[in-house]
């Protein structure tokens, strides 16, 4: 029993590291990507900063935008590189080799997520520091431990949701880019990326709080700006909800992967290229 567990743990850990390695290598091999992507990030961010300045909004609104933009990059990565990834793997012909391998498919997805986090963390940190430096936006508080905890739990939830989506995308049988677009656009408006979520009607807040981006962002802002951030709930309560959501998403991703494989074996078309 212990031997079997050790064997299984070893294979899944190796799988996780190897799959993360693909994205880490890609990040460094195409280093200019970080710079160029970061630069375009700063430009789109600048438009909101100058908009708030022209409107005479409070200075911390600029901080909202910067933090929002930092977290948004992870959400886009979740949609286009985690949720859609099994679909891309199917098109490239890799998916069937993932399926027939003895490793857990969850290990592959977690590896992808770690690789994605590394990739976006480099890019977004570059944007974050450049933005605070260029726009000289003040920070009220700085509690590194709480910031790290909030950030970590938000990513846990976001990537957990992405992993759950990855199998669902295949099960729904839709083109991945349509689904990603569908999830991307409304989030810009309703997750409070550019303003406090409190300004929206409560039913919208509740619905969009199911996406960890909304509460994670709200909690992050509170970590930096305290009460001035006009947070939705107490940070610690938000972290508890986020942790709960993350566990559900991870469990859901395990179930949906299992279901996807079951349906694929029955129907014979789900994981095959061009079908």
């Amino acid at each position: 029993m212990i031997k079997k567990f050790k064997e299984s743990f070893s294979i899944n850990l190796r799988t996780l590291i190897a799959r993360a390695y693909v994205r880490i290598v890609a990040t460094h091999r195409e280093g200019s990507w970080i710079f160029l992507n970061g630069l375009t990030g700063i430009i789109s961010l600048a438009s909101y900063v100058y908009l708030y300045r022209n409107l005479g909004a409070k200075k911390i609104y600029e901080g909202f935008v910067i933090i929002g933009s930092f977290i948004l990059a992870f959400w886009i990565n979740v949609l286009w590189s985690i949720a859609s990834q099994l679909y891309w793997e199917k098109l490239s012909g890799n998916l069937r080799y993932f399926i027939i391998a003895p490793c857990s498919k969850m290990a592959i997805l977690i590896g992808m997520s770690f690789g994605g986090i590394y990739m976006i963390l480099l890019r977004s940190s570059f944007v974050l520091f450049l933005a605070f430096f260029v726009f000289k936006t003040p920070l009220k508080y700085f509690n590194p431990l709480l910031i790290f905890l909030t950030f970590f739990i938000t990513l846990f939830g976001l990537y957990g949701l992405g992993m759950a989506f990855s199998s669902l995308y295949l099960l729904w049988g839709r083109e991945a880019w349509h689904l990603s677009s569908l999830f991307q656009e409304p989030i810009y408006a309703f997750s409070g990326l550019y303003y406090p979520i409190r300004v929206l009607p409560i039913f919208i807040v509740i619905i969009f709080s199911l996406i960890p981006l909304t509460l994670g962002l709200d909690a992050m802002r509170q970590c930096f700006y305290g009460k001035e951030a006009e947070g939705l709930l107490n940070v610690y309560l938000e972290l508890i909800i986020l942790t709960f959501l993350s566990i559900i998403f991870i469990f859901l991703s395990y179930l949906s992967l299992k279901k996807m494989e079951e349906v694929a074996r029955k129907k014979g078309t789900l994981i095959e290229r061009w079908q």
Partner: protein, 332 residues
């Protein structure tokens, strides 16, 4: 890394590394496999020969645990494909032709490392296997090249190395030389033959619609069409099915050579090549000795310059069994 135990258990009473019993698979109302029963021996290269849409890939998908059968049973290395698929996955691998596996941004070496880790290979072992396989497949000079910069032939060789990286007990090759040029195909076939010969107790199931490939590689071949196995034998055994008479081609030197019936031999074709040199094609019933034919030809001071025996092709076997050629079946 998983330890292979399948051989020790002698396939748990199943006796064959691959065995299917009355295997059926339907896609809706379309029947892809209709009662396929095969038994593949250990150490054998077993071929499935049939036109596109014959059911070869469906059978491979079932045996590699990608697809469930509608009914019937299939066992790989003694494990049931339906219930014990996890055990099978530890011990097998698959290579399909015409695929672009991996990631363009990775090098060949990194790609092989990636796939080896899905099987839990320790790094030292991975390095050793990559080195071995790259020697055998002549990939050594290309290990540091990015996958996106490889030619089709090199990419397929990398794909083959990927399939063999976990040293599987049983490997499934689905049209492994599809889309390759002649030289690459020869190299791949050489590698497959060498692998099964050098490694003890390995089994290969190969699908192809290339008659030459099937004949060159396979110890036994099953001819499949519309989901049914029509015959299963060695290449020679299959050819014997259609070989009621022997066909010979001669180049002879004679003053004149009449087209005529000579006892039990029939001249099928005759043409003058140059001056007194003629080409003749003769059909001889199997029970008549070859010496008698030679004697008949040499009559009237005829000199034999060269001759060869014409063997029936697997295409002819297929036509005899199915009633149509590959092309005709694929056109339908």
């Amino acid at each position: 890394m998983y330890k292979m135990q399948s051989r020790d258990k002698r396939y748990m009473g199943i006796d064959y590394p691959i065995k299917t019993v009355d295997l059926k698979r339907f896609y809706g109302k379309i029947c892809a496999l209709n009662g396929v029963s095969i038994k593949v021996n250990e150490g054998e290269i077993f071929g499935l020969l049939g036109p596109n849409g014959a059911g070869k890939t469906t059978l491979i998908r079932i045996l590699t645990t990608l697809l469930l059968p509608t009914s019937g049973k299939a066992y790989v290395l003694g494990y049931d494909v339906e219930k014990e698929y996890r055990e099978i996955r530890k011990r097998i691998n698959m290579v399909s032709g015409g695929e672009e596996v991996g990631y363009g941004i990775l090098t060949v070496q990194e790609t092989l490392y990636l796939f080896s880790q899905f099987y839990g290979l320790p790094l030292k072992e991975t390095r050793k296997r990559i080195s071995e396989l790259s020697d055998l497949l002549d990939l050594g000079p290309h290990l540091q090249k990015r996958v996106s910069r490889l030619s089709t032939g090199l990419r397929q060789r990398m794909n083959i190395a990927r399939g063999f990286i976990n040293n599987p007990d049983c490997i499934f090759l689905d049209e492994p030389t599809m889309g390759l040029d002649v030289e690459s195909s020869i190299n791949v076939r050489k590698f497959i033959k060498r692998w099964v010969k050098e490694k003890e107790g390995k089994t290969i199931l190969l699908t192809t619609h290339n008659m030459y490939e099937a004949e060159e590689l396979c110890d036994r071949i099953a001819i499949i069409n519309k989901g049914e196995i029509f015959a299963c034998d060695t290449p020679k055994g299959l050819k014997d099915l259609v070989k009621k008479e022997d066909i010979y081609e001669f180049e002879i030197k004679a003053k004149e050579y009449e087209t005529k019936k000579i006892d039990d031999f029939y001249i099928l074709e005759k043409k003058r090549l140059e001056g007194e040199r003629f080409y003749i094609k003769i059909r001889a019933p199997k029970n008549i000795p070859f010496e008698k034919l030679i004697k008949e030809i040499r009559k009237d001071n005829t000199e034999i310059i060269s001759f060869k025996k014409i063997e029936p092709t697997l295409e002819e076997v297929f036509v005899k069994l199915v009633g149509k050629s590959f092309e005709e079946v694929e056109r339908e």
